[in-house]
């Protein structure tokens, strides 16, 4: 296709939107609503996933052993645990290390308190494995597996957090997918109606084009451009609104749950990180909806 023909198609596409203002605005509005909601769900999903990732690296499973168990047996237990695929890393913390860590965290620079214990280690039976998972949702299975190993006294895990985050994310995923699919269908339908209106307004022109020898592509291109433009315009506004409200929502949540038990897990993605992905996804979705809606219509109505 020549550059002049591309220019012609774009010009006619813009003309179509202008001629058919009300329907075009309705289509743009629906795409806006669709992509705004998509943006909100994306915020939630991306942040929950981020929190889970943070939780996975900060919250692990701690495995303690039966009293008086030997180093060799502990090594055997370690080897058995390592066979599991869901483990991302595993550290052995000896009783001495556990005691030193405890001293450092609890007594800090208080030498008197430290010296009071002299050579005794009150955490003599606290050797442990610290295990970090690559998928929090698999924590439950892993804990059950480790508990059954001979020589394991206790397994500590943050069961509630892991399960809660994981199931919340799945729920948000399903709800958002359902709503977005419904909204996309409405948007595609509205774009299709808009394009059909445009075709009926220009039916004389299209009839002449066909008689003169215009190709299918040349006749269809302005309507596809129209769909793409509607989709593109519909994707811009929600991005601007979401950009300005994102930080405000985060600030609000952080203040509201400041002293809540959840506050430990409330770590949010930076606005730049989230928009680096959201901008291209939203624009592509908008253009995709417009393209799909218009191509369906022109294929149905415009044949040479």
């Amino acid at each position: 296709m020549r550059a002049s023909s591309i220019g012609y198609s774009i010009k006619q596409g813009i003309k179509n939107i202008r001629r058919n203002k009300m329907f075009s605005l309705a289509s743009i509005g629906t795409i806006m609503a669709c992509l705004f909601l998509f943006g909100v769900f994306y915020f939630v999903l991306a942040n929950v996933q981020y929190m889970m990732k943070m939780a996975e690296t900060s919250v692990g499973i701690t495995v303690f052993f039966d009293e008086g168990i030997g180093e060799a047996k502990i090594k055997d237990i370690g080897t058995e645990i390592k066979t599991r695929k869901e483990i991302s890393s595993m550290n052995y913390i000896s009783a001495e290390e556990a005691w030193k860590k405890f001293q450092k965290e609890m007594y800090k620079d208080d030498k008197d308190l430290t010296e009071a214990f002299q050579g005794d280690n009150p955490l003599a039976d606290s050797a442990s494995y610290e295990i970090y998972l690559n998928d929090v949702s698999k924590q439950d299975n892993l804990v059950k597996f480790i508990e059954k190993i001979d020589g394991v006294r206790k397994v500590n895990s943050s069961e509630v957090t892991a399960k809660g985050l994981s199931s919340f994310n799945i729920l948000v995923g399903y709800v958002s997918a359902t709503i977005i699919i419904i909204l996309i269908s409405v948007a595609v339908f509205l774009i299709s109606t808009t394009i059909t209106m445009g075709i009926s307004v220009r039916k004389d022109e299209i009839a002449i084009m066909k008689l003169i020898g215009a190709t299918d592509f040349f006749i269809r291109a302005p309507f596809i451009v129209e769909g793409i433009l509607i989709g593109f315009l519909g994707s811009l506004f929600p991005l601007v609104v979401l950009y300005f409200i994102y930080n405000k929502i985060i600030a609000y949540i952080t203040v509201k749950y400041k002293f809540n038990v959840l506050s430990n897990f409330l770590t949010f993605l930076d606005v730049k990180d989230i928009f680096a992905t959201l901008i291209p996804i939203s624009i592509l979705m908008g253009i995709g909806i417009g393209f799909f809606g218009s191509i369906l219509t022109v294929r149905k109505h415009l044949r040479v």
Partner: protein, 243 residues
């Protein structure tokens, strides 16, 4: 090919349009054309006459491949239309210029843009459009009215714009469906004279008309149809149909 009398020899020359035992029955059961066979040679000037329902409009639609024949074969410019693929239809139509009784101009575009539209459709470069459109508008006598909208033109002028649009892509065939149907005698003759000029330059001209005066006066080949059947084909004929 011309014979000794300066007329086209229909028997020996390879036709530019040929209908071979063509019939067309619409899905409603209406028989529009029955067993039609005719040949039109390159450079001929032909009138097709007949009353409403005689199959004239169906003939034009078949030539443009807007519809398919129910039976028989149609050849245009050496190609059998039933064998053309969908993607080849635009190229086929570019070889045929069409003029209608109701002009079919784009009301929101000026004279220049209406003619340029035909060139844009076949994706001619802008440079060529700027050169060709004024030249063809000069040929039909509309150089002074390039920036005027169709509604500001007389019927005759509008038909001349339509003619310029049909000719700008240099078609080998010009089809005119009742080109004088909406015009007064003076404008009708102006259009017919233009069509004769076009024909003299080598374009095959096929005119579907009811205009008895013009058909009788021009003494060209006349094909008469009635109820989808060819009833006469005269080399220098007149408007013989009385139905």
């Amino acid at each position: 090919m011309m014979n000794l009398n300066g007329e086209h020899d229909r028997e020996t020359e390879l036709p530019i349009i040929a209908f071979d035992k063509v019939s067309k029955t619409y899905s409603t059961g209406t028989k529009a054309i029955t067993n039609l066979s005719l040949k039109i040679n390159k450079g001929e000037f032909v009138f097709i006459v007949g009353s409403s329902g005689s199959g004239k409009s169906t003939l034009i639609k078949l030539l443009l491949k807007e519809i398919e024949p129910s039976e028989g074969n149609i050849f245009v410019n050496g190609k059998e239309l039933t064998r053309l693929r969908r993607s080849q239809i635009p190229k086929h139509r570019r070889g045929i210029g069409v003029v209608f009784q109701d002009f079919r101009l784009l009301k929101d575009r000026n004279v220049f843009e209406n003619v340029a539209f035909a060139q844009r459709v076949i994706q001619e470069p802008i440079r060529s459009i700027k050169r060709k459109v004024p030249s063809i508008l000069a040929e039909v006598g509309l150089s002074e009215k390039m920036q005027v909208l169709p509604k500001q033109l007389s019927g005759g002028e509008q038909q001349r714009v339509a003619l310029a649009r049909a000719l700008v892509n240099n078609p080998v065939i010009l089809l005119a469906d009742e080109p004088t149907g909406n015009l007064d005698p003076k404008n009708s003759w102006e259009i017919m004279n233009l069509l004769e000029e076009v024909n003299k330059k080598g374009t095959t001209v096929v005119i579907v008309t009811h205009n008895r005066e013009i058909v009788d006066a021009m003494q060209k080949r006349v094909i008469t149809m009635n109820k989808g059947v060819l009833i006469s084909d005269e080399t220098k004929g007149g408007y013989s149909y009385e139905g």
